[in-house]
Symmetry: none
Subunit: 188 residues, 4 copies
């Protein structure tokens, strides 16, 4: 079955998001998949390879999503809004992946350099462009902090049940507010 490799990745992702990378053992993954530890190593050279493949895969996936949105949207306002909503949509649809990406960034940030297609860099560019065009009334890096920080926490609080409401509504609300905060509000 060619699906075993994917199953391993899926289960590993779920466990990593749930318990952390270090606290998930290869045996945990194997048990979740329904195979023995040794079988894992037919598909991956090491636990770390699983981690890196997951990071690369989901990091790229979010990157591509945002990249497509940015390239295919004409209006500035619509582009910004769609980026925010696509970002949250990705997080809501792949909560384990999103949590995992954050954990990886937090604990193994140095290894992130090895990867291309880091979503945050794309958003940084977007904000820099907006600043260059005079749309953005903020230091783009400060705006980046507001934007990414907000997105992360909105996801977290929705996941924890603190924020209520339908996902799309939350996403729209977040998009609208961030636009108002960063663009429409008086100059900094």
């Amino acid at each position: 079955m060619t699906g075993t490799r994917e199953t391993i990745l899926d289960e590993a992702l779920r466990l990593f998001a749930q318990k952390g990378i270090r606290e998930t053992t290869v045996r945990d993954i194997a048990k979740a998949v329904g195979i023995t530890e040794g079988a894992i190593y037919r598909h991956f050279d090491s636990k770390d390879q699983i981690v890196h493949e997951l990071f690369g895969r989901y990091s790229s996936m979010l990157y591509e999503t945002l990249d497509r949105v940015i390239k295919n949207t004409a209006s500035d306002r619509e582009r910004f809004s769609k980026v925010v909503r696509s970002f949250l949509e990705f997080a809501f649809k792949n909560p384990d992946a999103f949590k995992f990406l954050n954990i990886f960034h937090y604990l193994r940030g140095k290894e992130v350099r090895r990867f291309k297609r880091i979503p945050v860099l794309l958003i940084r560019e977007l904000l820099s462009d907006m600043r260059a065009k005079g749309i953005l009334n903020q230091d783009p890096d400060f705006a980046l902090a507001v934007m990414i920080g907000t997105l992360e926490r909105v996801f977290l609080y929705k996941t924890m049940g603190i924020l209520r409401g339908r996902r799309e509504e939350i996403a729209s609300l977040t998009a609208d507010n961030l636009w108002r905060f960063l663009v429409e509000c008086g100059k900094s």
Copy 2:
């Protein structure tokens, strides 16, 4: 020497923030302190006790700081501003502690319940009060997401060298902007 206990906590904190909790061994801590592993257990029952003591201690420290500010400030605007600036001041002055608190929240969130004096809860109350008073133009939980998310990322980006400028300036800027975003901006 009673100072050894404190040294253990300091070095443990530094290592936890740098490498993660699971990835820091008791031997790492002992080596950093300049004693042997066994000696650690003269001061603590377990590695987990160190972790919990650190979390409790710094969580309380930030909590007390914010609590004092909230209680001792008359004006709403000033209170909000001081909370933001104190929060960032704490993070900038105790970067390892702040990183550690975040790691602990992220990976061992369930254990957080055992602790009282969680800073975020204090801020949540503050925002709820502001909402009740009609000052805040947002769902307080959404505002919490914006605020905490922004603070975390501002700290992170300043630490990483992405955000430049003096700490106090960054803190003031953050405080002013968050106030404008959450309070002055048009109703949501």
Copy 3:
């Protein structure tokens, strides 16, 4: 294809000689042959069977070669010389086999008893006969040590590029010298 079995033996021999027996995995062999691990077991019951078959085969091959030379040569001097040269010729032509035989002798000497036609025993007999005839001026077992030791090292140093010259010349030189050392030199 019956050739697969032979290919397995060939590749296994090469790897055993290169890396050692224990350090060569069944997977290594399979990969070298261009089949999968499972297929190996269609041809052999176990890795050990491959090892034993190789040992038996090449041990016999050298044995037969020497035996033929001993039986078909009339003069003592010529017989001795041909034994030495045939021995080295075998080693030079089958360097992997010769290395493998030595490794097996060294690490699994006890298993050698199960095999008949051990080349060294043939040479021991030859030297004993020479001693009985009064040709050999040495304890035959000491002579055996000189002879086998020299042959092994001559092969090794030629393989390593330390000894230079054409193989046949080296073989002749070795044969002549050993004869002079063991036979012509003054009594021990």
Copy 4:
């Protein structure tokens, strides 16, 4: 006890010589020492470190012995004789070490480069000097093959009970014969 480290080395050496390096497990060593596997790692970083320390240690020991003999002996004949006898004395007194050095050379020859003080190189120099002085009637590298090969096999056959007699007698006999073979015998 500071002796544990030495005991580990001693037992490891014994087992490596008896069964081979790869076929000796860390558990085997621990059991022989009377401790648990984990305790081994308080004294050594890895099994390989034990292997390398043993090789370096005994390789040096033999090297120093030969070096001292070479430097402190005036007459050529006596020097040569003493080198041979010291070499065999070392092998007879440290049979496990000598077997281990051979195994290591055979299976992990490439790693030998990392070490200085390789005994064979010392003997090679000795023979080169003898050749330069006109004492040696042979290509020094061929003489090296005869000499080292003979010494190795003499040790082996004595160990196996094939060669009989007192060690000193065997050593003297070997020294005398090698001198006669390589020096006194007619030119090659």
